[in-house]
Amino acid sequence: MLTRRHVRQALPFISLAVVLLATFYVQPRAMSYFGLNLMLQYAVPIALATIAQMFIITANDLDLSIGPFVGLVSCIGATFLTQSPLLGVFLLALLLVAYGLIGALVHLRSLPSIVVTLGLSFVWLGIAVLILPSPGGKAPVWLKALMGFSMPVVPLPIIAALVIGVVVHVTLMTSSYGVIARGAGGNDKALVRAGWSMLRTKVMLYMTAGFFGILSGLALLGLTTSGDAHVADRYTLYSIAGVILGGGEFIGGRVSPLGAVVGAITLALAGSFLIFLRISPDWQIGAQGAILIIVLALRALVSYGEARQ
């Protein structure tokens, strides 16, 4: 039975199709292996950051530091990871632990995550600026090779996005522990009553978010090939918008990994689309806002009908 709920869940995919078709219409040459590869390559780090944000949103929190965090990872990657890989890996592991500690702090003191991660965004940026005061450094060779790898037939970014989406979907949406993680967002008291530790759940969610943040930073570094503290400042907003475009909700543990990946790709595509349209640079950012509004308006329309049914 096709209900409006299904329509709403399909909305992220429909929006992606529309943006994709519009892009092809405006610029038919984009409809090629090379064109897609070019347009979508930055979708991979954005999708990874969006997934990171989604894990935090699952816990009813919000991460305002993911952008600077991705920037910091790219700085560490371009310096320590290239020069002394062991130290680089150790530092990245340290970041993962830091994310877990933040999760514990937010939970134990019941702090507003927005404020804590707001403060954290300054910390990440500060460390990144200390490591690389100005853009520079070099990405490890293997990373460049990985991100520049040419897949036969289907461009790498599409495969990568698909893999990310499916892997996260399986762990969060169908595994038995994914149920607990989402339950934490839905009704934490019920979880505690059933004997689960909220502390452990929240730390796990934050560390998973940190893990995907690190992947995002490395993927971005593989594309840009040099580190920059400010390279991902916009990712905070992109990641939140991506989760929401993908059908996620801020509270209640309602998220969709596949939707989030699709939302991230839509955002990345929208940028190329606007360039193809030759919109005045003045209005580029405004048009991005307009796209966001239109998609959300459509969702509201569907949900409205759902409520009336």
Binding site: L111, P112, G126, F250
Partner: protein, 312 residues
Amino acid sequence: MKALLDKSWTWSFAAALLVWLITITYTGGQGAGEILTAALSFATFTIIVGLGQMLVITSGPGNVDLSIPATMTLAGVVAMKVMDTDTSRMVVGIAAALGAAFIVGMFNYALIRILRIPPIIATLSSSFLVLSCAISYGRGIRIKPPPPLADFATARLWGIPISAVLVLALSIAIFFILRRTLYGRSLLAVGQNMRAAWLAGIRVDQTRFTTYVFSALLSGVCGILLSGFSGGAALNMGEEFLLASITVVVIGGTSVAGGRANVPGIWGAALFMYLLVTMLNTFGASAGLRLILTGLMIITVITLAGGEKQQR
């Protein structure tokens, strides 16, 4: 109304005082007054937008106004362009800028209400549009403010910026609006539980609409003043105020979950944030270190002040 005088705001003043004392101890008492004067003039801008952000955050969980920087920029650009350095057009310019801000506020709430978009995304999307408007309208030309506006924005009386005195009056007004007006009490009720507020006969839509428009207007005022203060509008003039406005609200003890506002806390927090940067500059800290310490301070303060006490 003990809630408004909750002691959480004393933290921010104590921290501000401590940072100031450390700084002047380090400088051997030199420039103690000047530091305070500068802190007051810069904190003033943060306080204006912070008050607006406070009202929005108080209106309930998930409510936050991310369009503050864009609105400030738009108001600044409109004001400068309409005034065109002509003193006689000052009133028209201010009216036009506030009118633009008013429209932004209305648009924000229309998105939230009619399209049911979460406020954080609604104000974010609209800020993109607003910023584009400002860029397109301003066309990168920097126009100086009319002299009286510039004089007013930088005027001081016995070392105290005039604008700070006016903002103090504004803060006191908002303090009483929250305590004793129907709008204020409605806002606090809506922030705690929107459905219960509606069932208690409160005009929820009107209250939330007023709140978003209020915030936009305050952003507008800040944009005009800042343009006067810094010799014209700039397209990036609002940038730092996004995080700053949220920071001062939360450090100031306003509940992020909504329903509890704290006006004095915003003053303490804004002064603290500025004095902290001053202190680090005095110590000669590098940009990176300054950022790290600022971040750690925010986390420390919120950890010490504690989060929401959980119900039961």
